[in-house]
Amino acid sequence: MQYQFLGIGYLTWITFLPILGMIVVLLIPRANTNAMKWTALGATILQLVFAALIWVNFNPALTGINDVSKFQFVEQTTWINLQGAGWFGHVVVQYFLGIDGLSLPMVILTSLISFVGVIASWNINKAQKGYFALYLLLDTGMMGVFVALDMFLFYVFWEIMLLPMYFLIGIWGGPRREYAAIKFFLYTLFGSVLILLVMLGLYFSVSIKDPVTGQMTHTFNMLAMMNPANYDPNSLLGGIGTYWRDVAFIALFIGFAIKVPIFPFHTWLPDAHVEAPTAISVILAGVLLKMGTYGFLRISFPIFPDAMLKYAFPLAILGFINIVYGALCAMAQTDFKKMIAYSSISHMGVVLLGIAAMNTQGVSGGVLQMFNHGVVTAMLFLVVGVIYDRAHTRGLDDFGGLANQMPVYTGIMTVAFFAAIGLPGLSEFVSEMLSYLGAFQTFQWVAIFASIGILLTAGYMLWALQRVFLGQLPEKWKGLPDVNGRELVAFVPLMIVVILLGIFPSILLHPMNASLNHLVDFVHKVGTGLSAAK
């Protein structure tokens, strides 16, 4: 293996560095909270360094998706090996990591947001040890989801992330934290069950030849699941465009849709966001939501390309509903944070719309939008966090005239708001444009109706901006201090990314191209090939 540090692969490092950090945090005496913060910060900075290393060494020409030889930074060893367990045969679970152009942006995003999240957590003043330990565990779970190529491993990471999230909302959250945490946990777990069932169905349907013994064995290898030739004849999910494949696709869809979240599975999100502490909202919106759409692209679409093409139109309709419905709900909110939460629903609809189009522009736009929304929404939640820290209220109507009181803060907020509005020159414009461009080619009318969302977004964002920042400053907020240095450290990197990607989107699009084009090709080729053989 080429890319190693101390004999351990880069991806293992980037995934498990936070766990190392967690162990250190747990060993630090309870009183020494500063050491805990700095440990967490150090772990995430190192993670960021590894992300940068991976980016620099990434070869944009390699496609990945379904071909292990085209993946990069691959680490593949046997993790669990059960011999001869009755008719099960031989259970092998691999420790199989690798990235391609689809996961690279997510890996970078996760490192970036995790780093920013630690800075936003600086003022946590309750049970810091538990907080930072759980935070780092969460980080590992997220990163693992984006680098795992074995579905069992993927599922393990997916579930690892759930537990710390539950406690982070439930213990460090707002007044209704317990309700929100339980709702989040149960809702997501419900989705996980569906994913688990499909995973088992796939496991028992797919066999590959064991390279050592030459026996046919079942496998959790995602890439093997993408090859129609590997399905056992007469297995549950074998064949082409069958009833059970549709069922499995839909079940998997719901499992991932809850995470995105897609209407009507979205109501956990406003509650979780509103109750979660700032840093956790940032992580939730910045990274967690992307796991759902990542799941579509990594698992659902290439494994069930036939069903994907069949249901592409309903997917686009759901994208449209998310965009417009989310925006309208956002408009009606009076809680700043809840408004941002609904705006996330709206903006994730753009991702869905783009990837449902299944063409180059749409999928590139969708994946870019995943990244851009992660960064922009992180900024937006930080913006809310700053004001909540100072004023202990989030009511949009409680403020006014902050522009004069907090000018730097207002400048940052303006960038974030206009990025969310999709102003050209800032990152979200490019991804929205590409998504709509792709969607328009496949679903003309859906794209046209969805473009109403562009208008509505401008409406609620500017209205909120006006209510909070413009007008006269109420007497009671005369003493609010402007953003401090620590907050700037969180904002500035995100702001640079937002502006940079708005002007030079190719920085990120270039490494994605080969993989995403291959994905589009693959889905169309295998999807229609299967349908044609029927």
Partner: protein, 705 residues
């Protein structure tokens, strides 16, 4: 040494970037730079110098029709079929671009200069200059783009700077409302624009104007979709150029500082819509052009009727701007391409002048904008007054002014259009607006400068503005005279302008052109769209059809006579009513009260939109939020409640039935045990009795065997 064309491109890029540099410097170091205002103003004058050089080189010396510079912005790679998805962007300089560069940088630098006086004690002085820089950068971006995507990008950026500058005094609710309204109303048009771009890209796979036109010429996009694409792109112009029905934002935009109104909401940004139509002109079908002509005419008429009733000096000018933009749009729509662009340029000078002059008045009157409080300022502010008069003559289309030249060309075009197509409504509206324009402009002048002062206190303190404010007025007044455009005051055809700005050749299928252009097309291409591609672009020396030209010349003197008469009548009417008071304005108002109320309230557009679109959206959003909270989340929580109910039921079942059975069996066993215990007495005699009883029972039971 670079060849001249690449020098021009470099210079153009410098012109584009300079204001942005100013913006960045001022936004980050605004308060730390001494005299940041002079820095930004200097930057603008430098850009102006470059622009003038570019224009002179391009228009008078260079023979190439356009200089192009294209780069690859995004490359989305390719699929296995070999399909690739690059997105190319770039800048180009042709004559219109070169002229517009000068227009924008000139007006912008004059406004910068003017603001030195007008804004000098403003609370956010450096921010103001920063935003002006941002605006100038974005506007220049629109002008220079050689592709429709970049136009859209800078289009939105001018929208942003407009938003920021309208809301410059955001402490006032009306100002922040106006900024928001401007941005959102513009977005409505921009959605159309955006969808138009989507259609174009989907059909032609390029954003470059050259690629779009050659694709259409090859028949890759035609029929009703082409017309729709044209109309959708025009939607963008409807928003930005404040055309009916999206004109409502511009009057409110007057909440911004007056120099901003001059720069953005009179001379440049609002003209961007007209510029956009001019840019995509070759792809507009007769159907799309007809829509454009009607929208322009309706706009010109509605806003002129509103302008005659308003009392706020800036509001009158705002409606006048809308009306003049309507003229330009109408001019392009009826096929008078050069005239429309010409009016855009002359209007930029005299309307910027009008706003700056009104700014000078407002400055002198201590931010009083109501004309009913003014009067008699002529003696106190002679420079402002005479500049105002020249601008007003120009906008009214009186000979020897630039406005006469350009407006007359538009009217001649609309006349010819009416004659050729039978759509006589358009010339009728065009000419009647001439009367209204002259009337409201001179009503404004008389109310402001003539007669007796109405607010004596303010009048006493009024004085002529300082030189930084009057010099721009003088420059603009000079530019409102005919000599800069044509040496013959009655015939623009003899000037350089109409020779430099030539109508581009249309690329739409022959059947979709205006009838006179169909006649002009070569006979053998009449019935085949594909044959159009045989004609190389830019070869035909005379893109304006001879038929059209001929009719225009025939009707020219009739039209001229009508328009001059109407203009003079309008002017006289204003004097009769407001200066000589032969007719009492109040009585007149009472006699036509319903009409006056209707016009004074701006045809109730704001009320209409407020009651329908705005209220509807808000109601819908509230309803959906309720639905979200109660129905969808209600279902989720309901499922949770049901589950808990179910669990408590099964808990009870478990407790009372299942566990009950277990306990019952325990209890029953115990009961039996308790019964049996009675037998266990521990007395041998009792056991013997039991044993005997047992033996007897067994004996009887097994007796039969």
């Amino acid at each position: 040494m670079f060849p001249i064309d690449s020098t021009l491109i470099h210079l153009a890029i410098a012109v584009l970037i300079l204001p942005l540099v100013g913006f960045v410097l001022l936004i980050f170091f605004g308060k730390r730079i001494p005299r940041q205002d002079l820095l930004e103003t200097g930057i603008l004058f430098l850009a102006l110098a470059f622009s003038i050089y570019i224009m002179v080189q391009k228009v008078f010396f260079l023979t190439e029709p356009r200089i192009d510079f294209t780069f690859r912005w995004i490359d989305l790679g390719g699929l296995f079929g070999g399909k690739t998805f690059p997105i190319d962007l770039g800048i180009a300089i042709d004559n219109i671009t070169a002229i517009m560069l000068v227009v924008v940088t000139l007006i912008s630098s004059l406004v910068h200069l003017f603001s030195l006086g007008y804004m000098h004690d403003d609370i956010r002085y450096s921010r103001y200059y920063a935003y002006l820089g941002l605006f100038t950068f974005s506007m220049l971006g629109i002008v220079l783009s050689n592709n429709i995507l970049m136009v859209y990008v800078f289009w939105e950026l001018v929208g942003l700077s407009s938003y920021l500058l309208i809301g410059h005094w955001y402490e006032k609710k009306s100002a922040s409302d106006a900024g928001k309204k401007a941005f959102i109303v513009n977005r409505v048009g921009d959605i159309g624009f955006f969808v138009g771009i989507l259609i174009i890209y989907t059909s032609l796979h390029t954003f470059l104007f050259t690629g779009i036109f050659s694709g259409i010429a090859q028949g890759q996009l035609s029929g009703s979709l082409l017309t729709i694409a044209g109309i959708l792109i025009f939607c963008g112009a409807v928003g930005k150029s404040a055309q009916f029905p999206l004109h409502v934002w511009l009057p409110d935009a007057m909440e911004g500082p007056t120099p901003v109104s001059a720069l953005i909401h009179a001379a440049t940004m609002v003209a961007a819509g007209v510029y956009l139509i001019a840019r995509v002109y070759p792809m507009l079908t007769a159907g799309a052009l007809t829509v454009i002509a009607y929208i322009g005419a309706i706009t010109a008429f509605i806003s002129a009727t509103i302008a005659i009733t308003q009392n706020d000096i800036k509001k009158v000018l705002a409606y006048s701007t809308i009306s003049q933009l309507g003229y330009m749009v109408m001019g392009l729509g009826v096929g008078a391409f050069s005239a429309g662009v010409f009016h855009l340029v002359t209007h930029a000078a005299f309307k910027a002048g009008l706003f700056l002059a009104s700014g000078s008045v407002i400055y002198a009157m201590h931010h009083e904008q109501d004309m009913r409080q003014m009067g008699g300022l002529r003696k106190k502010m002679p420079i402002t007054y005479w500049a105002f008069v020249i601008f007003s003559l120009s906008i009214s289309g009186i000979p020897f002014t630039s406005g006469f030249l350009s407006k007359d060309s538009i009217l001649a075009g609309s006349f010819a259009y009416g004659v050729l197509t039978g759509n006589i409504l358009i010339p009728i509206i065009g000419y009647s607006v001439v009367f209204l324009t002259a009337f409201y402009m001179f009503r404004l002048i008389i109310m402001t400068f003539h007669g007796e002062p109405r607010d004596h206190h303010k009048y006493e303190h009024a004085k002529e503005s300082p030189a930084v404010m009057t010099i721009p007025l003088i420059v603009l007044a000079a530019l409102s005279l005919f000599v800069f455009y044509s040496f013959n005051p009655f015939n623009p055809e003899q000037g350089w302008f109409l020779h430099s700005v030539v109508q581009p050749e249309t690329v739409v299928p022959v059947a979709q052109r205006y009838v006179w252009e169909q006649a002009a097309a070569p006979q053998d291409t009449l019935n085949s769209a594909a044959a159009v591609s045989m004609v190389p672009a830019g070869v035909s020396p005379e893109p304006v059809s001879p038929v059209y030209q001929e009719v225009m010349e025939e009707t020219h003197y009739t039209g001229l006579a009508i328009s001059l008469t109407l203009a003079v009548l309008g002017l006289l009417a204003a004097f009769v009513v407001y200066d000589w008071k032969k007719i009492d304005a109040e009585k007149l108002k009472q006699r036509v009260k319903p009409i006056h109320t209707f016009l004074y309230n701006k045809w109730y557009f704001d009320e209409l939109y407020g009651a329908t679109a705005v209220a509807g959206t808000l109601a819908l959003s509230k309803a959906l939020a309720w639905f979200d909270g109660h129905v969808i989340d209600g279902t989720v929580n309901g499922a949770a409640t049901l589950t808990r109910l179910w669990s408590s039921l099964s808990g009870s079942f478990d407790h009372y039935v299942v566990d009950g059975l277990v306990n019952f069996s325990g209890w029953f066993t115990g009961l039996l045990g308790r019964g049996a215990r009675k037998a266990q007495t521990g007395k041998v005699q009792t056991y013997i009795v039991f044993a005997l009883l047992g033996v007897i029972i067994i004996f009887f039971a097994f007796r039969s065997f």
